[in-house]
Symmetry: D2
Subunit: 339 residues, 4 copies
Amino acid sequence: MFGSDNQYGVHPKIMDAIVAANNDIAPSYGSDSLTQKANELIQNFFETKEMDIYFVSTGGAANCLSLASLCPNWGAILCHNHAHILLDEGNGPEMFTGGARLIGIGISPKLLPIEVENALLHHDESFVHAPQPKVISITNLNENGLLYSPNEIAQFSAIAKKYGLYLHCDGARFANALVTSAVSPKELSWQSGIDALSFGLTKNGAMLAEAVILFGDARQKATPYLRKTSQQLISKHRFLAAQFIAMLENDLWKDCAQNANKAAQKIAQIFHKNGISPIVPVQGNEIFVELDEKQASKIANANIGFYPWHALGAKAHRFVTSWSSDDNQIQTLEKALED
Amino acid sequence: MFGSDNQYGVHPKIMDAIVAANNDIAPSYGSDSLTQKANELIQNFFETKEMDIYFVSTGGAANCLSLASLCPNWGAILCHNHAHILLDEGNGPEMFTGGARLIGIGISPKLLPIEVENALLHHDESFVHAPQPKVISITNLNENGLLYSPNEIAQFSAIAKKYGLYLHCDGARFANALVTSAVSPKELSWQSGIDALSFGLTKNGAMLAEAVILFGDARQKATPYLRKTSQQLISKHRFLAAQFIAMLENDLWKDCAQNANKAAQKIAQIFHKNGISPIVPVQGNEIFVELDEKQASKIANANIGFYPWHALGAKAHRFVTSWSSDDNQIQTLEKALED
Amino acid sequence: MFGSDNQYGVHPKIMDAIVAANNDIAPSYGSDSLTQKANELIQNFFETKEMDIYFVSTGGAANCLSLASLCPNWGAILCHNHAHILLDEGNGPEMFTGGARLIGIGISPKLLPIEVENALLHHDESFVHAPQPKVISITNLNENGLLYSPNEIAQFSAIAKKYGLYLHCDGARFANALVTSAVSPKELSWQSGIDALSFGLTKNGAMLAEAVILFGDARQKATPYLRKTSQQLISKHRFLAAQFIAMLENDLWKDCAQNANKAAQKIAQIFHKNGISPIVPVQGNEIFVELDEKQASKIANANIGFYPWHALGAKAHRFVTSWSSDDNQIQTLEKALED
Amino acid sequence: MFGSDNQYGVHPKIMDAIVAANNDIAPSYGSDSLTQKANELIQNFFETKEMDIYFVSTGGAANCLSLASLCPNWGAILCHNHAHILLDEGNGPEMFTGGARLIGIGISPKLLPIEVENALLHHDESFVHAPQPKVISITNLNENGLLYSPNEIAQFSAIAKKYGLYLHCDGARFANALVTSAVSPKELSWQSGIDALSFGLTKNGAMLAEAVILFGDARQKATPYLRKTSQQLISKHRFLAAQFIAMLENDLWKDCAQNANKAAQKIAQIFHKNGISPIVPVQGNEIFVELDEKQASKIANANIGFYPWHALGAKAHRFVTSWSSDDNQIQTLEKALED
């Protein structure tokens, strides 16, 4: 526990929905009625019909397919130096785009709009020798557990528009960001200028439910073909759809994310009580703290999972909570620290 | 029904296994105990430990990752002109390999070893202008429902070895081929010279259970990185593993394939009784027949799914059975034909 | 001699122009005055200003950059089964496009419009599983030495337009085609519907002078970046420009091609006189004949170069003439045959 | 003048050699006798026969083909943040490698071995999520005009070997580096651990003469096919070979580089005399100085070319000398500064 959100299982209601979807013959590759229903629920969730939705099997695939939809093979993607697309998806962005360049920016825990603008300031599209920036990509919650507010997103969007770029958001923890920000899905996406969203529910309690969402003018004719070419068009598609439906109906997504975020706050307090303060504010379901070797050993010995997090310093460590985190788990951590 | 094997649902025992796998926190990305158990069962199934196993989310991904493991971006892959990798996976082989060439061969329903050898006869590796053949790919059962016997596979393998190529097999219907051939998994794979097998169970009753298997000297250091780069490394990996376990334990795979193959034979007889003979022998779970417009309408009107199959002629149509095909469904077809 | 047009040297007037270009400091990468002059001459040659011109270093690069400009990485390019882009450019089209598919069509010496249309007939862009045709590519003169007339080109163009494709022409022997057809450059290109032309002068007597020309609406914003990315933006660009200028000024291109074509006719007559008739009509600077082993030996022993040409049959052989072919060379061949 | 080395023309002896090569029919694609002679001279130059040599048309192509030979599409290339391959070759490294990642390191004017080692320190090849470093690439002289000594190269090589990487050197100004270092070609390449060298002579006075050289165990079976696939196999190959021969015979390369380097020293003194000191030591044919707007205007008004160089600061500017720089040119600069 606390190692990563994807080590936790599947929420029982999601599993029930998967089982219930197994009731008959159904068209494959997304022509089934559950997929249609899931699409409608997603449209309602984001309060717009001006969107294209593509389910895929992993969050990395959602990111890479988003980027491939928006960036030509002679283009470049600006992202944080800690971005998942830069550090944790192998060479996927290159493979999916056919050779686009990732350009890492920034060393503070959050990417700053000014850093992105500085990177674009000297860009001259008549200078063909340099890679051509076409996309800005942010992650929300980002890789250091931090939230970009609608206002901050709008700043990135303004820069993107000014320089003719698209704005992509890796939303592997989008539900946690929604809960923390207390704004609506549309406010945290297209209304603030997000063109493409990797909308992930796997970390929030699904089995495997990730979607590329392209909004408004960012919708591309290429995307259906790129999804197929990247072998991300799932045949028994209804089982993905069922997970989206269960998540969005009755706001299960919110219950899951709230539970995770609340558990993170409790853990932050426990660390604080033990003289360990988070390195960055706890704005979702992740806590980053500095631990010395003795502290780290005590926790590890209690069979609690967590990872070193070099991006925030040599002694930084990450703890992640989930939809299923309970007081029992938290007390185990508390006890380990106090022993 | 009869449209495609992937329109059928998931076998109840598979679904039970998925539900049962949801019992705790487990390491992600394949470090869990279920994945270890699945790997052992697969090794037992193929009676060798000299193999690397990589689970992926689609059959297309299994094919493309296999090819990417075996073929450099300056190489070429020889396959049947009707091959799934050539006709039905977008430009996936190119994307995964970084630009390898597919070369289609043959126009008879099965690829003939002599056709492959003819394509290689004039190949001169010092002539750098031409794409360099590196892989032969067959499909078993192939796209026209036909079986390659161990002896036929061995002929492809001998050619592959003679010219320094690898031999890949798309095994999306490998279980159906095993049942028809009545040989063991090893005889239909590595013992006959298969270097890489796309081992698919989705069409045979799983939800999403596909694997790349590399045998013996064909194992590659690159494959784990290519799986990640292609975004096919599934986070909640245990739910894929559970499907493989359920399929291989107690020979569920065989029950499923036997049911499908038997249903296909029954349907062939019904067609025959109605004066319609299969275009090619029925050697698995697919029946290919010529239908005139009136016949096709009658069947379609009975709400029975099937597809035109131009590869075998302008009037050719394909019917596919599955693990769940029952006499009820078959009688519906019978009645439609007789009406 | 007679082996290939690129075994011949450089026309003295071209060489003089290269030497003359070496007179001063000049801006690099195509910003020099000679490049500007070459562009103007090319515009005059094709009688339009609605064109973008990109010099590159090889004919293969011109083809691959043309295709990369017109075809997305999820698209497909239809071409003759004997096309240079299919058989003689390694996996270049895939590399430059980022993974597009080449689809070979036709087995007669020329690609027929009906064959292309048949390949497109069943294409359904809603079927995302198949590669999506985006370009038709022809070669003029083609690889079997045959000419496509403006009328034939227009037929390909009509099909391209009907199905939403671009039409590309590999013009490695465009000058020879112009001389044979006796029509103007514009008639053999954009007026007949060519969208992109690989305009090659190397085979016609230059040292290294190839250009991608995109006409009208086929001009792409991507091309300058793709040229750079493919490392085809030559630094000392004026030396390429000088060759184009020398070729187009005073119609040197025509003198060169006429000499080559006439020599080919003479050789055809010599073969005919010796009971050997061309397999296909001689419509440019290539002669294709069937030779038995004894005949082939006699010619080879006279130190005359030529190549077997399997595309036109087991005994087919190709002879190529050039701007520098003279009666002396032709008599050597004549004598060899008569000995 | 002083804008870039590739704005200067071609040394007369090189041009003479090109003209002299145009004397007959010769095999194409590198099978000619001049290419053989050039290869032998290059072997003598580097004092080894354990090398593969591939001529290409641009320095960028030499770099990208080197990298494609050494780095798989799932690999990564570590280079300086100012490296030409990172900033000035479009997305070429990605295109040629099929999607490898470039990772920029370091912000001081030279890449430090310790910076490379730090980037590799935490690398764990079992962590498949991250791009896998496979090549270290340095430039010598580097992009800020600085020399890596054999000893420094050996340090990079030791790190490369320790972590299982290859070491590549962009030698677009290798001749200038040789002259400055006063060591032999082998000492500045394979003896110090360089596995692949982009050996460029275009900047040093050739028209278009660049080569990929792979030493010892770094020689790859793939390279001839990758050169063809990248459309860098030049047909009239002898004209490239002639340039290499002329450069290496009678040490023309040294005369050219010495002239350029000496001119740079003179210019440095002139700047110094005018109160402007180089930002970095002048170790080749480039001078980097800070200029205020007034100074920059004065020089520009004298019709002298130079470029702003943001990598070394907001006011930094670069001046480049060449084989043809003479006192006349230098005096023009001197006068401009003093006016």
